[in-house]
Symmetry: C2
């Protein structure tokens, strides 16, 4: 399928589960962005009460002619709704509309909508096709790529879910114009992440172009989204089900999940928690000998300049440790951290509790 | 791994998701039945309040030495509990015990326990290993083999689930000794099913050995379970995700699901509804020209002799049709039936509503 010139395309190579990510401005208004996707009698657009009013009409129009019936479900907006009760609204809609095994789900929104719609698609009749249409920077560079879907459980984030690949991801950069500044920063956290774990040149590029990104200049956003997706594609293509390598994409997330869970989901945005979590993970990496203090300082400065928190909230070390022990990477109660063994390279390993306590004492507000 | 002489082994060939079904009396008491399975720090046995008191202690003993911690969760017994609330009890147990990605789930019970434990294993942390230990005939010959897992939704049976393969299936025939007669008959419905859809010799064998099966003679049960699993393995191996061929395993299930759903789950056992559903599906097959009246009579006689209902309950034709339209095989509102194109061979096809109404009028109690 030919892609109009200004658009980029990143391929995720996963055998029979391979798919394309299209990146460009105005994709939502281009029916050819959907070429070669399955045609079915019915489709369900799942969105939320913030994004829906802005972009549902555009997507509906692009889908006219592909599906005889296009249903829309607007979920409440927010991480606090990423739970079973809200997920069940999707199943209720699918069943009450008589949707079948060929019905296509479109996830129009940020990471929460994408994660829930993806898990609903994975589970409805044991699997129906779905398309990701991420409208936040965070979802475009992270959650909509790679097939991780999930809901939260009161005892842990993303604890219930599936590895389930979309048929396509459409990153329409035009949708980022309406993104609140706080969410733009949260997305930049995941963009920045790809530097320390894999590509120091990209880190330098982000440092040089941070103001252009914060000003939402299309060329800068396009490069940031494209390079982030390329790196993610490279990692996911080698380890779809996170047996090993893929875990490095969780740099900053072990501490970050503890922050989100400890404060209550929705208090800090996921990207904010990851931004701060990367500072803590970098500090731990330094203590383990992977990077020097100058690197930690450099990364911290960039995260702060992107508008993200760099001091952990006052949860107390014991609570941090308890929350991290239920992280999905933990094994038999031992916390597995993603740390840098050198700038541009990450590994998964454990660390002595005492060292983790030192990091928490150095980087978090006192209780 | 060498299997002790009296035990049979059926291999399910699914590439990296391949696994073995072991069939024999006393398997639960043989730790070597678990050889080559993943060792993990922790395990969770999921069972129900009927089966648990009978067999949990045996399984626990067999697992001692494999897992440092073996937790047990007893669910309430019955199809009515195959819902999200009960599934969530499994997640609660896993999270409150700090279970991780390597924790092994053991499903000890019938189809409901197997389906829910399998879906929990598929979804917990996006997938942990599990072992099926089916203790009903129905689960041994059907639900524990093939990787279909699911829970019910108020608007439809098995609507939410996953294709997720176990690491192994242990069919201990000794556990069938405690099975209530009604459940033995329900299991025989699925055993009988393999005849008309694939193997007329097996159908003749069942007819000749029905009394031995009803008397639970071990040699007869062993052959019935083994041959059923072999046929299912053959079909599933060619079509893991039910794109085509696999649907023939649902012979009798389209009508059967409507009966279960229309009466309210749990009123009739699944196998009872399938037994009766096979009579209706055979009747429809005759009207479509695949089999003759003598065949329908022969099958009906066997189903009745197995202790199963052969007249559909009085739901009314419109309710039957409405319920069947939400069946997972339906496409764009058209019901897809599994019918016999000749004795020993099944296909999936639609049928005129008028013909289905005639079948319902002929085979169901009047409203």
């Amino acid at each position: 399928m030919p892609v109009p010139a200004p658009h980029a395309r990143v391929e995720i190579e996963l055998g029979e589960r391979s798919y394309s990510i299209l990146i460009g401005s105005g994709l939502l208004q281009e029916p050819q962005a959907l070429d070669a996707l399955p045609r079915a009698a019915s489709a369900l657009i799942v969105t939320n009460s913030t994004v829906g009013p802005l972009y549902t009409a555009q997507l509906r129009e692009a889908l006219a002619g592909r599906h005889a019936q296009v249903h829309v479900l607007e979920l409440p907006d927010g991480e606090v709704y990423k739970d079973w009760a809200t997920l069940n609204l999707i199943f209720d809609a699918l069943l009450s509309h008589g949707c079948d095994r060929k019905t296509v789900l479109y996830a129009l929104g940020g990471g929460v909508v994408g994660d829930m719609t993806g898990f609903a698609a994975a589970s409805y009749m044991r699997g129906v096709p779905f398309v990701q249409v991420p409208t936040t920077l965070l979802a475009q560079v992270d959650s909509s790529v790679g097939g991780k879907t999930a809901i939260n459980h009161p005892l842990g984030k993303n604890m219930i879910g599936a590895f389930y690949q979309p048929q396509r991801v459409l990153c329409d950069l035009a949708t980022l114009k309406t993104l609140p500044p706080r969410e733009l920063s949260a997305g930049l956290a995941e963009v920045i992440k790809y530097g320390p774990i894999h590509d120091m040149d990209f880190l330098a590029w982000i440092e040089a172009n941070l103001q252009a990104l914060l000003a939402r200049e299309p060329a800068a956003l396009a490069h940031a989204v494209r390079r982030s997706c390329e790196i993610k594609a490279l990692v996911v293509g080698q380890d779809e089900r996170e047996a090993g390598l893929r875990a490095i994409l969780n740099f900053g997330h072990t501490f970050g999940h503890a922050i989100e869970s400890g404060l209550g989901y929705g208090e800090w945005l996921h990207g904010e928690a990851v931004g701060c979590g990367m500072v803590l993970a970098a500090e731990l990496s330094q203590r383990l000998g992977g990077v020097d203090a100058a690197f930690v300082q450099r990364l911290t400065k960039l995260i702060e300049a992107a508008g993200l928190p760099v001091r952990g909230p006052a949860l107390g070390a014991e609570r941090y440790l308890a929350l991290m022990r239920v992280d999905k990477k933990s094994e038999a109660g031992e916390i597995r951290f993603v740390v840098l063994d050198k700038p541009g390279s990450a590994v998964v390993r454990s660390a002595p509790d005492a060292m983790v306590r030192d990091v928490l004492a150095a980087c978090c507000e006192p209780l």
